[in-house]
């Protein structure tokens, strides 16, 4: 029987998967941070550059300050940042020195654990990023082995990556990251031992989303296969398209005889806090998911599908939904099986959509190998796809279908993008931005429109206190304040009566 540790993802991946990354504010996090610090989690998945952008854009909150305050409120549990190593907030590729500055500022603010996730498994890029993070002061660096089903992603493929991780002095451990929740217990029984065998004794973690209900079962098999850490969510931020529920996982693992050293009472307190917060803020709580066989083909997360349906409805093309979904599988194969993890689902979906509804009308569903016969396919190509083919996001896992490659690159826009000047260095950025700003502000202004950063600064410091129980009262007060003077207010319920009146 094994000793299993937990990493909680509620604050980052839970919030991103279930609440579009916009649910949690600084105060929401600070209120529960001291308790989360004591549960016994090995680390917390805390932040990504996307989440930092959302803090600025949606909440007008300083994400750097959020790190510092959270660090102060939970000094004992490492906080994790996840990133690709080549971009910061914006989708553009960043100068390596900009990325170096990002990591240095993150470490200074209180991040110590870093996940390097290259969506194409370009291990040379991963190792280079890991070296930069280590130099910036990152103490624990984890490489992502992003799981997917495709013609090229076999056990041997992942074992090969594990061997590169084993050989790197700058990568401390690895995790199997299953963003779409495709891993079955059967596949885990071959995949995980194959990875472990080549990992050189470095610890292995597992991070599998619950999208089609498989991961809670995979988690029960994982400890006996050699996984030391399971990544989980808490309360309303578990299940659904997030990760398995911490309390349920702990109970099941213990039932199987494994040891999980966490404080159950505190874990329940954290779960209950997120439940109450979800209720108070009208945010959906994650629910256990039914199995969905079709999902294994398109691998599109729920959020992307919802967006597609909305876009088609706006165009009056709801009937095309099935055709677009088929096209997604085709485009993905032609582009060399990019893993359906940000930014690729949006990219593949965009291309599939324009292949089906864009162009000059030749919208006959053509089989993958006869694709070149269709004039409409790849007639319109989004910039994202051109950049991908040009290698801006790393080397594609498998070669791009040659005719698709030619078709995409043989256009003026592709030549324009290929001739784009290289990204700006911090010194060059500094010349273009207001004088005397801090590195933190410089990086925000690099990654986002300046107006957003100005608005954040104008909003002042973020609130630091939050209570779900108080929200109904605050809402009542806000509503009362927005109405003509109320002369008499009575709240009457069993066992409670509050009466306010003017003297």
């Amino acid at each position: 029987m094994a000793e299993v540790q937990l990493v909680d993802v509620s604050l980052r991946d839970g919030n991103q998967s279930l609440w579009g990354a916009t649910g949690l504010r600084t105060a929401h996090i600070l209120q529960i941070a001291p308790v989360m610090n004591r549960v016994g989690f090995r680390a917390l998945d805390f932040l990504s550059s996307t989440a930092m952008g959302v803090a600025v854009r949606t909440h007008r909150e300083d994400p750097w300050q959020r790190i510092r305050l959270t660090r102060a409120a939970m000094p004992d549990t490492p906080l994790q940042f996840i990133g690709t190593g080549f971009r910061f907030i914006s989708w553009e590729r960043a100068h390596p020195d900009v990325m170096r500055l990002v990591y240095e500022r993150l470490v200074a603010a209180g991040i110590s654990r870093f996940v390097v996730l290259d969506p194409t498994h370009d291990m040379d890029a991963v190792l280079a990023t890991a070296r930069i993070i280590r130099r910036a002061g990152g103490t624990e660096i984890i490489a992502a082995l992003t799981y997917t089903i495709s013609a090229v992603h076999g056990d041997a493929f992942y074992a090969g990556i594990a061997a590169r991780v084993a050989a790197s002095p700058h990568i401390d451990r690895a995790y199997v990251k299953d963003p779409a929740g495709l891993l079955t217990p059967e596949r885990a029984r071959t995949l995980i031992p194959a990875v472990r065998a080549r990992l050189g004794g470095k610890p292995l973690e597992l991070h599998a989303h619950c999208t089609i209900g498989l991961s809670p079962l995979v988690y029960l098999a994982a400890p006996n296969l050699g996984v030391q850490v399971l990544q989980v969510g808490c309360g309303a931020l578990a299940d659904g398209s997030s990760l398995p529920d911490a309390e349920r996982t702990v109970a099941n693992l213990r039932e199987l005889g494994h040891t999980v050293t966490v404080d159950d009472r505190l874990l329940a307190q954290v779960a209950s806090y997120f439940d109450q917060l979800a209720a108070a803020e009208s945010l959906p709580a994650g629910q256990p998911q039914p199995y969905d066989a079709a999902f294994t083909k398109h691998q599109l997360a729920g959020g992307v599908m919802t967006t597609l349906r909305r876009q088609l409805a706006e165009l009056g093309l709801e009937a095309k939904f099935g055709a677009v979904m088929d096209e997604v599988s085709r485009v993905r194969a032609e582009l060399g099986y990019p893993i359906m993890v940000t930014p690729f689902p949006q990219m593949v979906m965009g291309q599939a959509l324009s292949n089906i509804i864009g162009g000059s009308g030749g919208r006959k569903g053509s089989p993958p190998r006869a694709g070149r016969a269709s004039s409409a396919r790849y007639e319109v190509v989004p910039d994202q796809v051109i950049r991908y083919v040009l290698g801006s996001f790393g080397k594609p896992t498998a070669p791009v279908e040659p005719w698709v490659l030619d078709r995409i690159l043989d256009r003026p826009r592709a030549r324009e993008l290929a001739a784009e000047p290289p990204p700006l260095s911090p010194a060059e950025l500094r010349q273009r931005l207001p004088r005397g700003i801090s590195d933190e502000e410089l990086l925000l202004r690099f990654g986002m429109p300046s107006g957003e950063v100005d608005a954040m600064l104008a909003a002042g410091p973020a609130p630091e206190h939050y209570s779900p129980q108080l929200q109904p009262v605050l809402r009542l007060l806000r509503e009362l304040g927005s109405r003509p003077p109320v002369r008499r207010l009575v709240v009457d319920k069993p066992g409670f009566r509050l009466e306010l009146g003017r003297a």
Binding site: V35, P75, D76, L266, Q269
Partner: protein, 459 residues
């Protein structure tokens, strides 16, 4: 280890303060209560309460919180894995710390050896000297008190070796008064601390009281800045602030370094304070004593550092070690605390027990109120008279003072006499506003206030 359930062995505002942090950390709380405290605000805030057996009668009520065995038994019965003693009562009692250890309960405070070293004022003086901290000339009073005093030079201060808090303290101006003062002080010390030993120290006539907050894990010690506590009456602090205003940077840096040196010498584990007397005429400082507990005035330090000192105490008790370096402690702004007591300035500051008829406290940015008092709260005569601490902070001292005046104006406590009006008048006083007053300031101020202000204070 992780502390899951804490017995809070105290009452009043500090009980509320400790309960708040425990709740924030997700720690279950059990409050030890005696007598009418079972109906107090802290009793309602705690997850559970447990009665500690009073020794009988009114005196017995206060004795309950001082009863080592009763408190340890209560903690064991409540299934607590740690005890937070607050300040006063058992907070610095080495026998209590040992009893906790024997019962397998974590005492949230320094070890018994440090409590002994700090509690015996003469031992503490020796440790300070050994750590290279300046101490005032002085020594234990034996048969040759006159000789010691002669060597130090008059005026001298007669102090109790067994405890602090102003009890057993006497200032002696000339040799003729010495023997009587020593006898009186010794009797008072014996009554208060069960230890008749007294010692002499040179009396600094123009003195400020400045202290340095320490945090240590037994190996490493850092300071959390200094506090000014010179506004005192009969050695009882009334107003405190952080940082100490108008203190030369060299002096400030030396005092902080001296405090850390003493902490390292003592292998200090937990939260503690090194008190100094600052000789304003000589620009020098001398060791006064070590307070091995959380102090009443800790909120001013919390407001300028952003730290939760009770949480730090708990972390050290859990063996987590110091979680921050000296360099990572940052100081920002200025904070001032007023102790609002149930006492009547018109009647020689006599305690004024009773029942609070109504209480309204201010709220807003930079305002914090630590209190256990609301309408209906009992103010029993057996305990100290502290009702509330009004703490304000600002970007600088002038802003903190402005907030203080405005916050005090919005403070109201009915049903018992309080020193609120005195605080309002103090906050408006020019000498106080200038900063850096000495320990004789408050007594002088009370005497010199014009009748109109005195009427306001006393009304």
């Amino acid at each position: 280890m992780i502390i899951r359930r804490v017995l809070v062995a105290n009452r009043g505002e500090i009980a509320v303060r400790v309960l708040r942090t425990c709740r924030r950390l997700g720690i279950e709380t059990v409050l030890a209560v005696a007598g009418a405290d079972a109906d107090s605000v802290p009793a309602r805030l705690a997850d559970h309460t447990i009665r500690i057996v009073p020794g009988g009668g009114a005196a017995g009520l206060a004795a309950a919180y001082l009863n080592v065995e009763a408190v340890v038994d209560a903690a064991a019965a409540a299934g607590a894995d740690a005890i937070h003693p607050g300040y006063g009562f058992l907070a610095e009692n080495p026998r209590f710390a040992r009893a906790c250890e024997a019962a397998g309960i974590v005492f949230i405070g320094p070890g018994a050896e440090v409590l002994e070293a700090a509690g015996d004022k003469l031992a503490a003086r020796r440790h300070a000297a050994a750590a290279g901290v300046p101490v005032l000339p002085g020594g234990l009073v034996t048969a040759e008190a006159g000789e010691v005093a002669g060597r130090i030079g008059y005026p001298v201060l007669v102090k109790a070796a067994g405890g602090g808090g102003g009890r057993g303290l006497r200032v002696v101006g000339d040799p003729g008064q010495l023997s009587g003062a020593v006898t009186m002080a010794s009797a008072e010390a014996d009554a208060a601390f069960g230890d008749p030993r007294v010692y002499l120290e040179r009396y600094v006539s123009r003195a400020r009281h400045v202290e340095v907050q320490l945090l240590g894990d037994g190996e490493n010690v850092i300071h959390l800045g200094d506090r000014e506590c010179s506004v005192q009456r009969r050695y009882q602090k009334v107003v405190e602030e952080a940082p100490a205003p108008r203190l030369g940077e060299t002096l400030r840096v030396s005092m902080r370094a001296a405090a850390v040196a003493l902490g390292l010498h003592l292998k200090y584990q937990g939260l503690g304070t090194v008190e100094f007397v600052v000789d304003t005429e000589r620009e020098a400082f001398y060791f006064l004593e070590v307070n091995a507990r959380i102090q009443v005035e800790h909120p001013v330090t919390e407001m300028v550092t952003g730290l939760d000192l009770v949480a730090e105490q708990i972390a050290i008790a859990e063996g987590r070690g110091l979680r921050r370096s000296q360099a990572s402690v940052s100081f920002g702004g200025h904070a001032i605390e007023c102790r609002i007591n149930a006492e009547d300035p018109a009647d020689g500051f006599r305690p004024s027990p009773g029942t609070v008829a109504g209480a309204a406290f201010p709220a807003g940015p930079g305002i914090r109120v630590d209190t256990h008092v609301q309408a209906g709260s009992a103010v029993p005569p057996q305990y100290d008279s502290l009702l509330a601490k009004l703490v304000v902070s600002g970007a600088d001292r002038p802003e903190a003072l402005r907030r203080l005046r405005s916050a005090l104006a919005r403070c109201r406590i009915d049903g018992v006499a309080t020193n609120l009006a005195m605080h309002r008048a103090l906050a408006a006083d020019e000498e106080f506003a200038a900063g850096g007053v000495d320990t004789s300031y408050l007594t002088r101020w009370v005497q010199r206030e014009p009748p109109s202000v005195r009427a306001e204070i006393h009304g």
